[in-house]
Assembly symmetry: C2
Homo-oligomer: 388 residues x 2
């Protein structure tokens, strides 16, 4: 029986071209996170179901991948990285520094309705500071987000900030409606409030809120024009207890590509006491999409920089030596392993988006620039010079 090669709905293969882009973004983010002292944490894909269930509301329990393993244990696949972080903080209390600054970049699984353009396996990129109430920590996580965006070459973006305290006493339904202000406009918000039987005066009440002392301190520390107070920002009905923020990028209006805030009552769930925390997450798929839309990926995201091509079979060994010499100079290079003609080798370079080919002839070397479609005869040292 022939089995059709296919993937599950909502699950993706990342072929080299896409995987390369993901790597580029992840390496950039990791470098920034680590430059601020955030350290890597990894937790298992499978957890005891009791660790995860009931932590994500009704919808979460429904969308979670759960099953019984061979040992009759009820297990579930990672659904986010915050509950595992809470477990880690309780389980290794004495082994972790305080504050504990960790980043975590792993897949999560949710049996979402894929019709809505959602994936069932997707990467989460989280960074959090656990164990600090200081507004300096609030400012730091925003600073990490700003630096990350700058390193990824985003030019025009805005960080809107608010304090969940500004919604104290407001009904959840009203918060959800007001949170949509930017998307649907003032008139629609007023209409929705009315339809829901909520006081329409609420909107103006919320919009008239001003910066409180905590937000002022955070904004003062950051000294960045792009950090803007927005009293209507609510970040849904989340677990936030203080600062909340979101990132909007000019030219990409699908939604915010990062967001976060302070949540002081969540991380202690397994430890049995309140543990403060502040952090953020990048929406990784959105981040990639925004970078595609704004053309922010470097044009030269290749793996191999040089294909050492042989003009005829007798020169394949010489090509191998040249590739090796290039590699020793930290230039990624390879040789086509079969005995084929030059045309086929050039096609391979094209296919793999290799930007340079060194054609190894009997008596000389020719460096071919595959993007500019130019070529010139050079010696090895000159080639090195050109490629540096």
């Amino acid at each position: 029986m022939k089995i059709e090669p296919r993937t599950l709905k909502g699950f993706r293969d990342f072929l080299p071209k896409g995987a390369r882009k993901r790597s580029y973004v992840l390496e950039t983010l990791k470098r920034v996170f680590e430059s601020y002292g955030f350290e890597p944490l990894e937790t298992p894909a499978l957890e005891y179901e009791e660790i995860l269930s009931g932590k994500y509301g009704e919808e979460g329990d429904k969308l979670m991948y759960k099953f019984t393993d061979n040992g009759d244990r009820k297990v579930a696949l990672r659904y986010d990285q915050t509950v595992p972080l809470a477990r880690v903080v309780a389980q290794y209390q004495n082994d972790l520094p305080t504050p504990f600054k960790r980043y975590q970049i792993q897949n999560v699984w949710r049996a979402e309705n894929t019709q809505r353009g959602r994936y069932r396996e997707f990467l989460q990129v989280d960074a959090d500071i656990v164990g600090s109430y200081s507004p300096l920590s609030d400012a730091e996580v925003i600073s990490v987000v700003i630096k990350s965006l700058e390193k990824l070459d985003f030019k025009n973006f805005k960080i809107t900030v608010n304090d969940r305290a500004n919604f104290a006493g407001v009904e959840p339904q009203a918060i959800l409606t007001i949170d949509k202000l930017k998307k649907i406009g003032k008139d629609s918000v007023l209409k929705e409030l009315e339809e829901k039987g909520l006081p329409v005066t609420l909107l103006d009440e919320i919009l008239s809120k001003t910066l409180n002392d905590k937000l002022k301190t955070i904004i003062d520390v950051l000294k960045d024009q792009r950090v803007v107070f927005d009293p209507s920002l609510a970040r849904g009905l989340d677990y936030y207890t203080g600062l909340i923020f979101e990132v909007e990028v000019d030219g990409y209006d699908v939604g915010s590509i990062a967001g976060g805030g302070r949540y002081d009552n969540l991380i202690g769930m397994f430890a049995g006491r309140d543990i403060p925390a502040v952090g953020f997450a990048f929406g990784f798929d959105r981040l990639i999409e925004a970078m595609e839309t704004l053309n922010l990926f470097p044009t030269d995201l290749y793996t191999t920089k040089v294909l050492a091509a042989f003009a005829n079979s007798d020169l394949q060994e010489k090509a191998l030596k040249i590739a090796n010499d290039l590699r020793n100079k930290n230039i990624n290079s390879e040789v086509y392993p079969e005995d084929v003609n030059l045309e086929k080798q050039l096609k391979y370079a094209d296919r793999k988006q290799i930007p340079f080919v060194v054609i190894v002839n009997e008596n000389n070397l020719v460096l071919k620039n595959m993007r500019e479609r130019t070529q010139e005869e050079l010696n090895f040292d000159q080639i090195l010079e050109k490629l540096k």
Copy 2:
């Protein structure tokens, strides 16, 4: 009800200290793989069960994590990276270059008996060349392994090679016994052959095999004294069809830390035709263990290089500025976010294995080397100079 924070048997958390080591090894390996033109590939954690089942023998089907998802699909967790590679090769035939050189570094899940020191979730590190019959490809994968080990600072190791063709016509039971030669010695092998009712002359027959032309070509291309022919090497009852090889490291005798070979009848399983392939895998946990045993990890695997410490609360803001200036010079640095005394900040640095502390005093800066327990008064530029 208080839920105990715990992980499933065979599953591991990697706290920063361990995660840092894993990162160091993975980044080194990726760099080497890419220097030879191997490109990243990622496949989903979950596959249709029919894609995986029956591909790993009876034991594999037993150890595989399988369940029925919310949509009533029979699914299974990734069990290795070779079957997904075969699926990818069939599914995207027209989008991939030939040869297709890919590396893949993802977790796999096997419900192993953890008593044997095995894990149920572990990282696989594979690199393969698909679509080439050339012995140059065989030589290249060995070359990648050698370069990887050198970059990880392994000094004394040996790559034993053989050709599965040397076992043509030999009974599987005899192969398994002879494969144990190095572990149990000649006498025990002869005894086991006898006990199994197999001809004891088989051992000498196998040991008298000499290098065939293919192995000769491969060894000639590599020109490396550490590549040694061993006619008793069989690599279990695997799917290999030509070259097989294993890596032994002096001073670490738990087993080989990498192995691979040519398998020309496997990758075509979904494409419906033979597709040649040659590759290898690092045993990642063993690799880490070997590096621990041989002390190969750099002593300075830190995340934060400098803690900017404030002598009193008024200086915290100045410390923030200095940390930021260091960061802009590509030096990872941070500031303790709460208002605490110097002692507590130094303890934090110790805990996080931060190698340097810059103490920000009213009128000067003091650079403290946390490893050597020395300190000196310096200006910012001198500090930069010291830290470069």
